[in-house]
């Protein structure tokens, strides 16, 4: 490194050259340097002068409604009382946050806010961490002269399945309503009535069914909004907390994990500039309940004549070691396969990868036929920040709102407020369709031509050339192969060679598991096919449930029936582990420490907050124990050794090694059928963490089918009838149109400024030619047996 001197020179340059965006202002007599565009409230806070506030939130637009942040601001025309959340800094501005007038105004506002507030702090969940309570102490008059009767409302009323509203406590700061409208795009709560009778409420018979409703509870500055799972569970001063990462999906939102008396009680979003901006989806926020579910496995199980019976760890591990040894000795390392690993930490994956390496086991895959080709993961990676600042985002992914909700929020924000133009290729529409610059509809199987056609459009080409491009690549339709996606991404990269790729993976740590080496020459489909042919003697499931998760469930069923022995490591009993010979209970998120890798490749820590359930152990510990029983040396003694093997580059990205054969998945798109299938997933599906969280359980819909009404009419199905769907891999009976209100079926529509030729083609085929393949979509996860009580 010869840059020491250079760096010094650069620093000097910066000092000499004044920052053109620097604005110097005076706060309480001290000179402060702010940046152009800063709000006074933010600049003052950075300078150490906290201005009280209720409606102001740094991640939403300012409205200046609560008037609590009034301070005296002098811009040359004398000091004037102004809301500091609405005024941007200007050169020479003088701000006084402590003047008599300011103090008088702030005390006055607090007295007025408390006039109709019930002051039921002793029984309020917010008491102890309540901005109204705190600021009444720090900036309030200390007593009220209001002796009139206070406003009364029914308290509390449910406004959704997860959130309760107490209108008596509400101070009408507009935070929740603004969040619902601006950030989530689900403007389902609003002010109703007027003046002193103003209240927040939902529209009649329309609940606040938003995937993001929990955020309103977190940003509520009083106890007006409370979340069902946390109501009356703890007082804030009894809570212990630790920062961690949510692993419900691969976005990797930063969270603060709160517990009391060794039970997880809530997750709060942490404002991480790079990832989640403080927001969480409701699934990630509330599915911690599954950690303490009755169905958690507390001790190892082994198969006997009576089925799975409890045993102790020592026998379970020695049986497992014996199974591994006899399989390796008998059929060679090729007769052992490892599936899964994406639900654990990087350390779990590294330990199992090391064990597989030591045993010579090559058949391993952390993806379950619904992942991405490794060639895609090997492309220049974009970060979420790149996405949010790109001039063009090419979206070839499943509906982000359903799969990676917080990434959806970031992209929605970029499209609405940063001028990012979204070019979406979609088969059935998405939550971002209405914000897309171009939303290009194409039939399943015709993606390549749709992309080629779009790239030939001069306007699209000009847009791609106008600035940074990010391609969001994911499996929109699990009935199509991963290779088809790679081809399409390749076509876009040929047109925009500098573009970064953000791979969309659903499971929390797929990226980390792959980087740790949980992939091999044979992918999940190959492994299951070998198993179905009877060539696998031992299948080790690392928190994976092929029966529920593998798209081709007929193949998965055959494979698990034919395979010699199954060892399953899981937190809960699932369909696949019920068929296992040995089930080893593992620690889940919240019960173990380590690191995880999100879809950007960003490595962040996860933290243990509560004691593990029963005798469960982390996966890595089991691997190490088995290694010693099998007499192989993994070169690792503890968790620290494993963490040291996580080798992030200077961007903090831990990537998948190169030079691996692309995965492939046989396409089922054919022309012999009347319809074409779009397999997609919803946020609340049959995932164990959803099924085992009492608050979310009711939201999880079963499988659903969306068919255009005219298609149903054509084949003579009355609405409400069940439909039998027949494909090359089997058949299934489904009720049509049963998607939930929070994920409405989106009819074909072209909200983008100019409907693409592709979109109009497909819709004309839809109506004119009965024999043309028709796209329809379905949630493919079955209401799996894993949700039955064991």
């Amino acid at each position: 490194m010869s840059t020491t001197e250079d760096t010094g020179a650069e620093v000097d340059d910066e000092v000499v050259e004044p920052d053109p965006d620097a604005v110097s202002i005076t706060v309480n007599g001290r000179s402060v340097t702010a940046r152009r565009g800063d709000l006074v409230i933010a600049a003052a806070e950075r300078a150490g002068d906290y201005i009280p506030r209720f409606c102001y939130h740094p991640r939403m637009s300012s409205v200046g409604m609560c008037r609590q942040c009034l301070v005296e601001i002098d811009t040359g025309r004398g000091p004037m009382l102004q809301p500091s959340c609405m005024v941007t800094v200007s050169e020479g501005m003088v701000v006084d946050t402590e003047s008599e007038t300011t103090k008088r105004a702030q005390e006055g506002i607090l007295e007025l806010l408390l006039a109709n507030h019930p002051l039921d702090c002793p029984v309020c969940d917010k008491g102890g961490e309540c901005p109204l309570q705190d600021q009444a102490f720090s900036h309030g008059p200390g007593e009220s002269r209001y002796v009139e009767e206070k406003r009364h409302y029914e308290k509390p009323i449910p406004i959704s399945d997860l959130v309760y509203l107490d209108r008596e406590r509400c101070i009408l700061c507009d935070r929740c309503t603004r969040f619902a409208d601006e950030v989530a795009g689900d403007a389902l709560i609003h002010f109703i009535d007027r003046g002193n009778a103003t209240q927040v409420n939902t529209f009649p018979d329309e609940p606040f069914s938003s995937y993001f409703s929990g955020n309103t509870v977190q940003i509520c500055p009083v106890g007006a909004l409370t979340a069902k799972p946390y109501r009356f569970k703890a007082r804030p001063w009894d809570l212990e907390q630790v920062e961690s990462t949510c692993t419900s999906c691969s976005v990797g939102c930063r969270i603060s994990v709160h517990s009391s008396r060794d039970r997880l009680l809530r997750f709060q979003g942490v404002d991480d500039e790079a990832v989640n901006w403080g927001w969480l989806c409701d699934r990630g926020r509330f599915n911690f309940e599954s950690v303490h579910a009755d169905r958690r496995l507390a001790e190892p199980l082994i198969r006997s004549a009576e089925g799975l019976v409890p045993t102790d760890w020592s026998s379970a591990l020695s049986i497992t070691a014996d199974l591994i040894r006899s399989a390796v000795d008998g059929g060679g390392p090729g007769s052992v396969a490892v599936l899964g690993g994406a639900r654990g930490t990087n350390e779990d994956a590294l330990a199992w990868s090391a064990l597989a390496d030591a045993l010579g086991v090559e058949s391993r895959d952390a993806r379950l036929g619904d992942g991405l080709g490794l060639d895609l993961l090997d492309l220049p990676r974009a970060t979420i920040a790149d996405l949010a600042s790109a001039s063009t985002v090419v979206l070839m992914a499943p509906d982000l709102k359903e799969e990676l909700p917080v990434l959806h929020l970031r992209l929605r924000d970029a499209a609405l407020r940063s001028g990012t133009r979204v070019i979406e290729f979609t088969q059935s529409g998405s939550g971002l369709t209405r914000h897309a610059w171009r939303s290009i509809r194409h039939l399943p199987g015709t993606g390549a031509s749709a992309v080629a056609e779009a790239l030939a459009d001069a306007e699209v080409a000009a847009q791609l050339a106008s600035g940074p491009v990010v391609v969001v690549a994911g499996r929109q339709n699990l009935a199509e192969s991963a290779e088809a996606l790679s081809d399409r991404v390749g076509a876009v990269l040929a047109a925009a060679p500098e573009a970064g790729v953000l791979p969309v993976l659903r499971r929390g740590n797929t990226m980390g598991a792959l980087a740790a080496g949980l992939h091999g020459p044979r992918d999940a489909a190959d492994i299951l096919r070998e198993a179905a042919e009877g060539r696998i003697d031992l299948l080790i499931l690392l928190g994976s449930d092929p029966l529920a998760d593998f798209p081709d469930s007929r193949l998965a069923r055959t494979a698990l029936a034919r395979v010699g022995r199954i060892v399953s490591l899981d937190g809960h009993l699932c369909a696949s582990s019920e068929q296992a010979d040995v089930v080893l209970p593992v620690a889940v998120m919240g019960e173990k420490s380590g690191t995880t890798t999100n879809l950007e490749g960003r490595v962040t820590p996860v933290s243990q907050k509560v004691t593990v359930h029963g005798t469960a152990r982390p996966d890595w510990m089991i691997a190490l124990d088995l290694a010693s029983r099998l007499g192989v040396d993994l070169g690792v003694a503890d968790l620290g050794d494993l963490t040291a093997r996580v080798t992030a580059d200077d961007r903090g990205v831990w990537s998948v090694p190169t030079g691996v054969e692309p995965a492939h998945f046989e396409s089922v798109v054919g022309t012999n059928y009347d319809f074409r299938l779009v397999l997609s997933r919803r946020l609340y599906d049959a995932a164990v963490s959803t099924q085992c969280s009492p608050s979310l359980e009711g939201l999880a819909g079963g499988r659903g089918l969306s068919v255009h009404p005219s298609d149903l009419e054509r084949i003579g199905v009355a609405s409400g009838d069940d439909v039998k769907v027949i494909g090359p891999r089997g058949s299934v009976v489904l009720p049509p149109g049963c998607r939930t209100a929070s994920a409405p079926t989106r009819p074909v529509r072209s909200d983008c400024s100019r409907p693409s030729p592709t979109a109009s083609n497909s819709s004309s085929k839809r109506t004119s030619s009965p024999s043309a393949p028709i796209g329809w979509s379905s949630s493919w996860r079955r209401s799996s047996p894993s949700c039955r009580p064991s």
Binding site: T101, A105, G108, I109, L112, G140, S144, R145
Partner: protein, 470 residues
């Protein structure tokens, strides 16, 4: 001296004075296109279209036409505040006249809708505006009908729409009815309402309508009476306009007088010279206080203006002097209270109106207005204490911190505090709830003290635990 009233213009009182905006009120059919054309209608538009737009703008600037909605800002200057080169830009006509005591715009819309339409067209031409939105208060059914009929006539006659009078200039006028909220008379709330949102005011900054207005575009919001003056100015020139009235307040002005006078009504007066004494006692105006009673107090500029005493009768009806004397002209409405008036009850009536009309957006207005009303109700009902009177002033301080404007009084030995006041609210609705309380308590405290019991020990409720606040 002639005092004429017309059954078709109830409330309007003509006199032997120059008239600009009410010149056709003597005709029963003044609202028809036929009568309008027969009395010089659309001549101002013709004259304007014959000149470059900038020249018409200059003409209006030269006329010093002051806005008649309340703030009295020069219209020609307001038009020039829009940023260069940002299109589309809009004209929004504020016909949501709701200030207690004010009913001049209603008469103008009912009696001479074509004059307003012509004014809109001239404004759009002069200020380069792309479209005009005419917002009429929801309760004004006749005004809505008359303006709509007139607009249809004007469209049919080629006076509105594309290629007006063969000039190549075109503009559309869109009508919109309000839904019954006083606050929508505030320009930014009116814009919100027009966009289909709740009628709640926006914050200035950054939402100065001239820069960020309707649909985020530059927007000029003008009052009905302001625009109704434009046909005269365009047809006769700025000089003809400034020849009437004073240099700082040229032209005429409509004043609505209500309350305890012998002849309440709307008068078009010469701007700047007519005094309140002329207006209330002049034979060609109100003709004195009813039943020969004494004048007790009057509100010079609509319900939200601080009150005046007989001491201020000799002030001219002119913005600056009234402001220096501790009140404002506002929308041009005088409310007169004679010696029989129950002052605390009068203040309660006004405060109740503003508390009821609060939109609920900002805290001081939403909570403070209603609190003032409740305490005042207690006082008026004879259940208050002297502490309640201080409480009223202290709650008011949370809405309007600092010195409140009030009139001088020789009898009370009070010096005047000039307008305006400071406020913690977003718009003027909150302070308007406090203004009548403050005026009444400052100028007539003895009437309140007669109603209340002597001080008890004060009721205070601790909201924080020990040591509260400090």
């Amino acid at each position: 001296m002639t005092v004429e009233t017309y059954p078709w213009a109830p409330g309007f009182v003509a006199g032997d004075r120059p008239r600009i905006v009410t010149s056709r009120f003597e005709h029963e059919d003044s609202h028809t296109l036929e009568r309008y054309m027969a009395t010089g209608g659309y001549e101002g538009l013709r004259a304007a279209l014959a000149k470059p737009a900038a020249e018409v703008h200059e003409q209006v600037r030269g006329s010093t036409l002051l806005g008649r909605g309340g703030a009295g800002f020069p219209a020609g200057v307001k038009w020039g505040l829009t940023p260069e080169g940002v299109y589309p830009r809009y004209l929004v006509v504020n016909g949501d006249e709701s200030e207690p005591g004010t009913y001049k715009d209603r008469l103008l819309m009912e009696r001479d809708p074509h004059q307003l339409i012509e004014g809109c067209l001239i404004a759009c031409y002069a200020a380069g505006l792309s479209r005009c939105f005419l917002y009429i208060r929801g309760e004004m059914a006749l005004a809505q009908e008359r303006v709509a009929t007139a607009l249809n006539e004007a469209y049919a006659a080629g006076l509105v729409g594309r290629d007006i009078l063969g000039s190549g200039f075109g503009v559309d006028i869109v009508l919109h009815w309000g839904a019954g909220a006083y606050v929508v008379g505030e320009e930014t709330a009116l814009i919100e309402s027009l966009e289909g949102n709740r009628g709640m005011p926006r914050l200035k900054p950054p939402f100065f309508p001239a820069a960020i207005g309707l649909y985020g575009k530059p927007t000029i919001v003008n009052n009905v009476e302001t625009l109704s003056n434009l046909p005269f100015i365009a047809a006769n020139g700025a000089e003809a306009y400034t020849a009437i009235g004073t240099e700082t307040s040229p032209g005429t002005r409509m004043v609505a007088v209500s309350g305890h006078v012998r002849r309440p009504g709307v008068y078009e007066i010469v701007n700047g010279t007519t005094t309140f004494r002329d207006l209330l006692y002049g034979e060609e105006f109100c003709g004195g206080i009813r039943d020969g009673n004494e004048l007790k107090a009057f509100v010079p500029g609509g319900g939200s203006a601080p009150w005046f005493l007989p001491d201020q009768l000799d002030l001219p009806f002119e913005g600056r002097q009234v402001g220096a004397a501790g009140s404002m002209l506002g929308s041009g409405a005088i409310m007169v209270m004679d010696s029989t008036t129950d002052i605390p009850a009068a203040a309660l009536t006004l405060t109740r109106f503003y508390a009821h009309e609060s939109c609920g957006k900002c805290v001081p207005c939403r909570e403070g207005g209603t609190w003032l009303m409740r305490v005042l109700e207690r006082v008026v009902a004879g259940e208050g204490t002297t502490d309640d009177l201080d409480l009223l002033l202290e709650v008011g301080q949370s809405i309007c911190p600092g010195d409140m404007p009030h009139a001088s009084s020789e009898a009370l030995g009070l010096e005047a505090t000039p307008f305006p006041y400071k406020m913690t609210t977003i718009c003027f609705v909150g302070p308007s709830a406090y203004v009548p309380v403050h005026s009444a308590l400052t100028l007539f405290r003895s009437e309140f003290e007669e109603r209340v019991a002597p001080s008890r020990s004060r009721t205070r409720i601790p909201v924080v635990a020990v040591g509260g606040g400090q």
